[in-house]
Structure formats: C-alpha cells, structure tokens
C-alpha cells in the first residue's frame, strides 16, 4: 500500500492545539482548560471504544471483524499521545489554587450558596474518592493500563503476521478475558473523575455506561470512515464486502439504541425521583440555549440516526453510511459538550451559553487532539500488513456473507 501522509494530520492537530492555547488570552485558562477536556473526552472515547471492539472481537472469537480489528489495533496507538495531552490538566491541578478545571481540588473554592468546598457535606462524604493524589494516580494509571493492554493486543496480532503461530490468537483471547473487566471499570471511573466530578454534587449510576455508549459509537463510526477511506485509496478493493458494512451498520444501530436507553434511563430516574441533589444537573442544562441542545440530543443523537440506520440500503451504501458516521461523530461531540461545558457558570450559577466562545475552544480542542490521534494511527498503519494475513479467521472474514 501507498504510505499515508502523517505530517498533514499532525500539522492540523498542532494548529488546533495552538488555536486552543491562543484561547487562553481571549477566554481565560479556566474556560480553555475545561474545553480542552471536551477534546480529550471525545478522542479518549474513540480510542477506548476501539480497544473494547478488539477485546470483544477476541472474546467472541469473531470472524467478520478480523479486517476491521487490524485498523482498530492501529487506532489504539493514540493512547500514549492522549496521556501526553492529558498531562497539562494534571499539572495544572498542582499549581495555583488547584481548581483550574475541577472545583473540588480546592478546599477553599466557593460553591453556590456561599459555602466552601471543605465545609460541604457532599464533598466530605466523597472525599475518599475525590482527592488530588488519587486523581493523579488514577488518571496516569488508567492510561497506563490501556497502553499496556493495547500493546499486548498489538504485539500478538502483529507477531502473528510473521510466524502465523496460533498461540498469539490464544494470548489475545486471554487478554480479552481480563481486559474487558479492566477497561470497563477504568473507563467508568475515568468518566466519573474527569467529567462527572466537574459538578461533584451530582449522583448518577448510569454515567460510566453513558460514556461507554459514546465510546462504542465513536469507534464504530471511525471504523466505517477508516474502511471507506482505505477502499477509496484502493487498498481495500476486494477486501471490504457489502456484508462487512452491513454488520458494522447493525452495531451502529445497536449502540444508537443503547445510548438512547442509557441516556433516557438516567433522565427518567432523576425526573421520577425529583431529588434536588440530582435534578439540579438537568435544571442547568435546560437554562438558555442548552434547552435546545437537550432537544437536539433526543432527536439528533437518537431519533435521526436510529431511523436512518433502520434501512438496509443506507447501511451498505458508501455515501450514506459515511454521512451517518460523520453525523454520529458530530452528535457525540455535542453530547460530550453537553456533559462538560455547563460546568462553566456565570456569577449567578447559571451555565454560560452553548453558542459562545467556549464552544469554539471545545471545537479547536477536538481538532487539536484529533489531529495528533489520527497522526498516531497513520504512523502505525504502514508498519504492518494491511490485514492480519495469518489470522486463523481471516478466510472467514474475507468471504463474510450474510
């Protein structure tokens, strides 16, 4: 295959990062650091979803996704870079009043009603979890675990290209066995630490699963875009079959419904119980133009992709499924923004509007982090065979048929 150009992606990424950094002069460090979390959250979701897809492929000994799995193995090369891009936020938690992003890191941070964090009962109850040393340990530890599991999966799969030994497939099966619980727990705790704790008063047992739903949707949408890109380059001619797109389209439909189920359940339980510690989170998300973002999540994030993905033709038409994949990536961005940005509040405790400079910095962060992640993928791509040619399931994958 022709070697892809990594420098373009890297330059776009660096430009995004530079623009985001310029935002500090315009909107201040607190806003930009929180917006940076949107970029990290978005691309971490895609990378974690790819890792989960590889592990799930191995635990089921699946055959149809063998070709797709190789692309995900290149995609998870982004984890070290994601950690590197996360470190500025970790470092910022050690300087000044510690509350650049997360208010609970500063005991003297004033919360609504005039109390200080250190006098807040809910903080005191959650202090065993919400403290700076554990946060740093957990953030670096989670990324280390993801990097380690990715490295095991990549090593086994890439080694098999050379020697064709079935022991590598068995090793991946074992990695999947312990990897799925590890990634499930770490992505849940990570989502709680990084996004949910921005408003640490809140309770939701659905939160980790919500993030997992976005991880899977992001990975599937990126998988479609990667496969179609390789097809258009000519690399995947004769490899990518209609039924591969059909299979991945069905999973996209599944996780669209799954996302709706999780998000609805979270809202419904809080609406039904009507407890102030929980409802405030949704109340501020009905303030100002966030109300329309909420409605967009119902109709744009669920209903529209759901109806489109019901169709067989849209699932297998390259033009249609590409647009649906782009739509899903866009709605994931809106969803993560909806979860993070309302933590930026004005003096009265109301969230700053959705359509504001904050959204611009969130978008430049997504471009910045994304450019680096895509460069990491493109750098890994030409280092191995295009498809795992000696995988025991490769024949079944290449002749995959409904």
């Amino acid at each position: 295959m022709k070697k892809p150009d990594t420098t373009k992606a890297l330059w776009i990424g660096l430009a995004g990062i530079a623009l985001t950094a310029l935002g500090i002069r315009v909107s201040g460090a607190h806003v930009v650091a929180t917006a940076w979390l949107v970029g990290l959250g978005f691309w971490s979701a895609v990378a974690i979803g790819m890792l989960m897809m590889i592990l799930i492929h191995h635990i089921f000994d699946a055959s149809w996704s063998t070709v797709l799995r190789r692309q995900y193995e290149h995609g998870v090369a982004a984890f070290p870079w994601l950690l590197l891009m996360f470190l500025p936020l970790v470092a910022a938690s050690f300087v000044g009043s510690h509350d650049l992003v997360w208010p609970w890191m500063n005991p003297d941070h004033q919360i609504a009603g005039g109390h200080l964090v250190k006098e807040d009962l809910l903080y005191l109850k959650k202090r065993a979890f919400l403290n700076l040393p554990l946060f740093v340990f957990v953030t670096i530890g989670f990324f280390a675990l993801w990097i380690w599991i990715s490295a095991r999966l990549r090593k086994a799969s890439f080694s098999q290209d050379a020697d064709g030994d079935v022991k590598w497939t068995r090793m991946n099966g074992k990695t999947a066995g312990f990897g799925i619980p590890i990634v499930a727990v770490t992505l849940t705790a990570g989502a709680i630490y990084w996004f949910k704790s921005l408003e640490y008063h809140w309770f939701s047992t659905m939160y980790g699963v919500w993030y997992f739903a976005n991880c899977m949707r992001g990975a599937l949408a990126c998988g479609v875009l990667i496969m179609l890109w390789l097809y258009d380059r000519g690399d995947f001619r004769g490899i990518l079959k209609t039924d591969h797109l059909w299979a991945i389209g069905q999973l996209m439909l599944t996780f669209t419904v799954f996302w709706a189920y999780i998000s609805f359940s979270q809202y419904f339980l809080i609406w039904n119980a009507n407890v102030p510690e929980e409802t405030f989170w949704y109340n501020i998300r009905e303030y100002g133009d966030w109300w329309y973002v909420s409605l967009f999540l119902v109709f744009g994030n669920f209903l529209l992709p759901f109806l489109l993905l019901l169709s067989y033709r849209y699932k297998v038409s390259h033009a249609a499924i590409r647009r649906i994949a782009c739509l899903i990536l866009f709605v994931i961005f809106v969803d993560i923004t909806y979860n993070i940005l309302p933590a930026l509040q004005d003096a009265k405790g109301n969230p700053q509007p959705f359509l504001s400079m904050n959204l611009l910095w969130a978008a430049t962060s997504v471009v910045g982090v994304g450019g680096v992640c895509i460069a990491a993928y493109l750098r890994s791509l030409p280092t191995t065979k295009l498809i795992p040619i000696r995988d025991p399931r490769i024949g079944e994958c290449l002749s995959h048929h409904e």
Partner: protein, 177 residues
C-alpha cells in the same frame, strides 16, 4: 394429468452450474421458479434476481403501532379514564409512558416480524408437488435442482425445457401436479 404438469425440474451437479443456470433463467424473465440446494449458495439470491425480504417493512408498521398503542393507552387512562396524582407528576407525560411504549414497540415488532414472515413465505406448507420427484432427496445431499412452475406466464413445455437444457440442466423431468 400428464399434459398439465406442475412444472419442470432440472438437475445440476455443482453449485457453480446451478448459479450460472439461475442467472439464465432470471434473464429469460421467469418469476415463478425456485432453486433447490443442499446448503446456502453464496450469490444465489442475486443470480435468481431475488430482492431483499419485505418482512422489515411489516416489522416497522408493527413497531410504530406498538409505540402509538402504548402512548395513547396511557394518555387515555391517566388523562381521562382514571386520573391519579402520583408523586406530584402531571396526569400525563410522555416520559413515564415511554418505558411501556417501547416495550409494546418491541412486542408488536416481534409479532409483526413472525407473522409477516409466515404470511410472506407461505409456511406452514405440509405438501409440495416437488416432493413427488423421485430424486428430490438428493437435493438435500449432493445435487442441485431448478424448478420452473407452470404458473409462470412465460412457461411453455418446449421452450422452457430447451432453456433448462441450454443452461446445462440434465435429467429434465415433468413434475406431477
């Protein structure tokens, strides 16, 4: 009896042969015909010119019916038939009607799918004239058949027989009705 057969049956030895023959029968414009193979042959659907199943459309109708049933049932009962204040909530809200509505969506979709499948494929069918054919059991083992029914408007004993022969079919026989 003999001059009004159910149709013609031709035998093919390999999946490739039946695949090529099916394409020729399709191109000749026949609609009332079928292939009998011991196992699923990849690509046979398109060689026969068979489109995708119409069952999903029936499923969709079932799903929409189920959703509307759930919503309107709860709306009628809670708003008019027996209004109750529970937990300070409004008499009707689509939120609490939603779990019931989507469960009815799933239930009605399942009913419509199963029912639609049986309506469209004509099952259960306890007998079929093809079963009269003496070698039909080998169609579950190592032979491939193409059956063209007399009910097809293009069916003509001579031309259909010669088409099957040209397509590579052997042992072309008339099926008793």
């Amino acid at each position: 009896m003999a001059d009004r057969p159910y149709g013609l049956i031709a035998t093919f030895a390999t999946p490739g042969a039946v695949l090529r023959a099916a394409a020729q029968v399709r191109d000749a414009g026949y609609k009332q015909w079928d292939c009998i193979t011991p196992f699923p042959v990849h690509g046979l659907d398109s060689a026969m010119g068979v489109g995708r199943s119409r069952v999903p459309r029936i499923s969709l109708v079932g799903g929409i019916t189920g959703f509307c049933t759930g919503m309107s049932m709860i709306w009628f009962m809670d708003r008019f038939d027996y209004p109750l204040t529970v937990g300070g909530k409004p008499f009707f809200s689509p939120l609490f009607a939603f779990p019931v509505s989507y469960e009815l969506t799933i239930l009605f979709t399942a009913f419509a799918t199963i029912g639609g499948m049986f309506v469209l494929n004509g099952l259960p069918m306890h007998h079929h004239p093809v079963l009269h054919y003496e070698h039909i059991r080998r169609g579950t083992d190592d032979l491939f058949f193409i059956v063209i029914e007399r009910a097809d408007p293009r069916f003509n004993l001579e031309t259909t027989r010669s088409l099957l022969a040209r397509a590579g079919g052997t042992d072309i026989a008339e099926l008793a009705p």
